[in-house]
């Protein structure tokens, strides 16, 4: 591992800007790189197979052109952008792709990805939406099929010990992210929202142990900082996947700090650990199916409707309190079914928790992000009153 990976914010910036550069180096050294979409890909199993999981990222600055020849424009713009830059050769180092049943935009385009990129390995994980016992058992069977499939690809069976070691590495990594988030609780926070996203995006492009060292180095660096300037408001951003800092920069340039999030990469993706279980697949299945609170997972209503909202969005309420959030921005992409349908319920829950809400729909491009500036400024003025 190169020394600079542990090199704090400068290294995070490098890996964020030259996204995929480390995977490219590893590939040259003989590693096999497996691209994946979404936080629901069980990266522990890929790592346990001796492969390097690499999160496929879009690019808000790159107009989507090539993707339209194979993928409909009604697909989520983030997924289209990821596909577009993949087609344009940005991730030419990939040896395979794994796509989970996350949302329609991701799962219904599996064939498009698989046959257009035509990589040596591909796999779809048909993760259920429900969280009951039958769904959990079914999901464990799916993970067993995935484990066998990866074993066939590498020519080496994945042992329980391999899985346990990978689980340990990812739990260490997630613990570091939780530690990082503690630095956002200070007033003003020791690290900006854009810096956190930049770091976490960089992290999902690296092998897990390197990512952990990178995050650790950032924590050490940030702790040495002088206090940041005070700003008018502490904002939380809630949405699906935000893999670019442009939107967070926009908020922070408008006079607020982004101090908390429910995003991927972000708290949603990193806060839950895999429980250490006798059969490591049990802990992995439990984490992905039940612990990640995402709109794509259906939780049954038990008790009152208020209890149900608490079950679905209670973590947002807790963040609002713990991070002393003044206002919440719901940042939802056009064509996003799992989050789009949640907006009225989520908005009502957050408002009842005492935080004002700004709901913004966007299209994952610099031109549309810029147009949101006025609405953000107006929201911050409202909060300041």
């Amino acid at each position: 591992m190169p020394e600079e990976v542990a090199g704090g914010l400068a290294a995070a910036d490098k890996y964020y800007r030259d996204y995929g550069s480390r995977a490219r180096e590893l590939k040259k050294g003989g590693a096999k790189i497996i691209g994946y979409l979404c936080a629901f890909t069980p990266v522990e199993i890929i790592t346990a197979a001796g492969l390097v999981p690499f999160r496929i990222k879009g690019d808000v600055n790159e107009p989507i052109t090539k993707a339209d020849t194979e993928m409909e424009t009604i697909v989520c713009p983030l997924v289209r952008s990821c596909f577009d830059v993949s087609l344009k050769g940005k991730y030419e180092f990939l040896d395979g792709i794994v796509i989970p049943h996350a949302c329609d935009s991701i799962s219904r385009t599996y064939d498009v990805w698989k046959y257009t990129l035509n990589l040596p390995y591909s796999h779809f994980i048909d993760m259920p939406h429900g969280t009951g016992e039958p769904s959990l058992d079914f999901y464990k069977s799916l993970l067993g099929t995935f484990r066998t499939s990866l074993g066939k690809f590498t020519g080496r069976e994945i042992s329980d010990q391999d899985l346990k070691e990978a689980v340990g590495l990812y739990n260490q990594n997630r613990a570091k992210v939780r530690e990082l988030y503690q630095l956002r609780k200070a007033s003003p926070p020791l690290i900006s929202g854009a810096e956190v996203t930049k770091l976490l995006v960089a992290a999902v492009s690296l092998p897990v142990a390197e990512a952990t060292r990178l995050i650790d180095s950032v924590i050490k660096e940030v702790k040495q900082r002088q206090a940041a300037p005070a700003k008018t408001a502490r904002i939380m951003v809630v949405g699906a996947e935000v893999d670019d800092i442009a939107f967070l920069d926009l908020i922070e340039d408008s006079g607020a700090w982004v101090v908390a999030d429910d995003l991927c990469p972000g708290a949603r993706e990193f806060f839950a650990d895999v429980a250490v279980t006798a059969n490591p697949v049990d802990g992995i299945a439990e984490r992905y199916l039940r612990k990640i609170k995402c709109g794509r997972t259906f939780r049954e209503k038990e008790g009152s409707y208020d209890d149900y909202l608490e079950e679905r969005f209670g973590h947002i309420g807790r963040f609002i309190k713990e991070f002393k959030v003044d206002g919440v921005v719901l940042y939802i992409y056009k064509y996003c079914d799992p989050y789009g349908f949640d907006v009225p319920a989520m908005k009502s829950y957050i408002e009842s928790a005492g935080a004002p809400v700004l709901y913004l729909e966007d299209e994952y491009s610099m031109s549309t992000i810029g147009r949101l500036r006025t609405r953000i400024q107006a929201f911050l003025e409202l909060i300041a009153k």
Binding site: I74, C336, F341
Partner: protein
């Protein structure tokens, strides 16, 4: 004010078959039955078509309310905009499924008023007792719509059962995984029965369920045999009519009425073939509706194709059955297990065929099969902007068809299922005209 907007209703579309002509009154009667059931205190279940629940609902004497259908009716009546706008006012994005938006707009309005919204199309949609979603790789609104509707009806319970099917992969065969798929589906269907017993005061009559499943098996066979008759030249029934006959296929599965409908359709098509009676007198081009839900407010576009000498003997959309005797189902005594096997085998029906053609997939194989069996000259698809269930992947399928099989004229129309603001009749028809010119040029080569 959205409340004051008047719909501009379209004239009734001319159908080729008598069977398709009966559908409008059938749908109207079904909606009236729902409203009557509500008055009589019978349990009503909001339901999605093709969720694998039909037989269970019928056997338990629960009245299904097909919410996609009601949105489609609003679309056909050109009266969906006020409900879409209402949903938008609730902060639902207009980019979401417009079936769902129409339904959510309607439901939130009905709940606010405590009665039906003003002048609801065909009497409106009754408040449900339960809402039955499903989790499957078909569409996200199947588990999100009713969850969102619960925001306006918090006392109405929702069930979401998993109904997956094995994906097509090169490195393993579906037979290696089918057992755990079937096991899971059976458990989820059993969970549905328990849920309905708990919330509707109905008890499952397992003997009755077996009878209903038998009827639905026979209906699958009858539909397949009737639709196979459309291979005839001239073609006696087109996709425009099939967008009507999807009603008994999807809303009456497991009922004697549904089975009888397709027996009548079969007989009618036989008669037409014997008389050499086609959809149009001079059939020039045979087209495949290769994917996408139709614009319900613009079904007359099929008649426009007819006016240019083009017919649609086959469609992928709403061809939701295969002959059960071709599915090689294991003999099982549990009707739920039978349903699970039928579901898995339906979705894996073309896996083996795809494996024989490098680069192909079951979806592409289906296009090829229909092109050959129905003597197809060109493929038409529709990309509905609000639907990410059937529509993502269509362009790729079309491209892959040409790569692994042969070049064939194709047309991809763009609009929506319900939202008429996305539709431009003049542009659509100009594109159809250009496509017809292409077909003619290819034919005369």
């Amino acid at each position: 004010m959205t409340e004051e907007k008047k719909p501009e209703e379209k004239k009734k579309r001319k159908t080729a078959t008598e069977a398709a002509g009966k559908i409008g009154p059938m749908v109207k009667a079904a909606l009236a039955e729902n409203l009557r059931a509500k008055e009589e205190g019978k349990p009503i279940a909001y339901s999605f078509i093709y969720s694998g629940y039909d037989e269970i609902i019928r056997a338990m004497d629960i009245v299904p309310a097909w919410t996609e259908n009601y949105a489609g009716i609003c679309g056909v009546k050109r009266d969906a905009q006020r409900f879409l706008e209402r949903a938008e006012g609730e902060n639902f994005s207009r980019s979401l499924c417009t079936y769902a938006l129409c339904g959510l707009g309607f439901d939130s309005w009905r709940e606010e008023l405590g009665e039906m919204p003003p002048d609801p199309p065909w009497g409106g949609q009754a408040r449900p007792t339960v809402m039955l979603g499903s989790g499957q790789v078909i569409c996200d609104p199947r588990y999100k719509w009713y969850q969102a509707a619960q925001h306006y009806m918090p006392d109405v319970p929702v069930y979401v059962g998993g109904l997956p099917y094995p994906p097509y992969e090169e490195d393993y065969d579906y037979r290696e995984v089918q057992d755990y798929y079937v096991k899971y589906i059976v458990e989820e269907l059993r969970g549905l029965v328990e849920f309905l017993e708990k919330h509707t005061n109905r008890k499952m009559d397992w003997e009755r369920l077996s009878q209903v499943v038998d009827i639905s098996d026979r209906t699958w066979n009858m539909i397949s045999e009737a639709y196979d008759l459309r291979k005839a030249v001239p073609c006696p029934m087109g996709t425009g009519d099939a967008m009507n006959t999807m009603v008994p296929m999807t809303f009456m599965m497991g009922t004697q009425e549904g089975l009888d409908f397709f027996k009548d359709l079969y007989d009618e098509l036989k008669r037409k073939i014997a008389n050499r009676e086609g959809i149009i007198p001079d059939e020039k081009y045979r087209l495949l509706w290769g994917g996408g839900l139709p614009s319900w407010f613009a079904l007359t576009d099929f008649n426009y194709f007819n006016s240019k000498g083009a017919v649609f003997p086959a469609e992928v959309t709403y061809r939701l059955v295969e002959p059960v005797y071709n599915l090689d189902l294991p003999r099982v005594s549990d009707p739920l297990e039978h349903l699970a096997w039928r579901w898995v085998r339906y979705w894996t029906y073309r896996h083996d065929r795809a494996r024989k053609r490098p680069g192909s997939t079951p979806d592409v194989e289906r296009l090829i099969e229909y092109i050959e069996d129905y003597k197809i000259d060109g493929v038409v698809m529709h990309e509905a902007f609000s639907c990410r269930s059937w529509h993502p992947g269509l362009i790729w399928q079309l491209n892959q068809l040409k790569r692994v099989y042969r070049d064939i004229p194709s047309l991809v129309l763009e609009s929506d299922i319900v939202d008429i603001s996305s539709y431009n009749e003049a542009d659509t028809r100009a594109r159809i005209d250009a496509f017809i010119d292409t077909l003619e040029a290819v034919k005369s080569r």
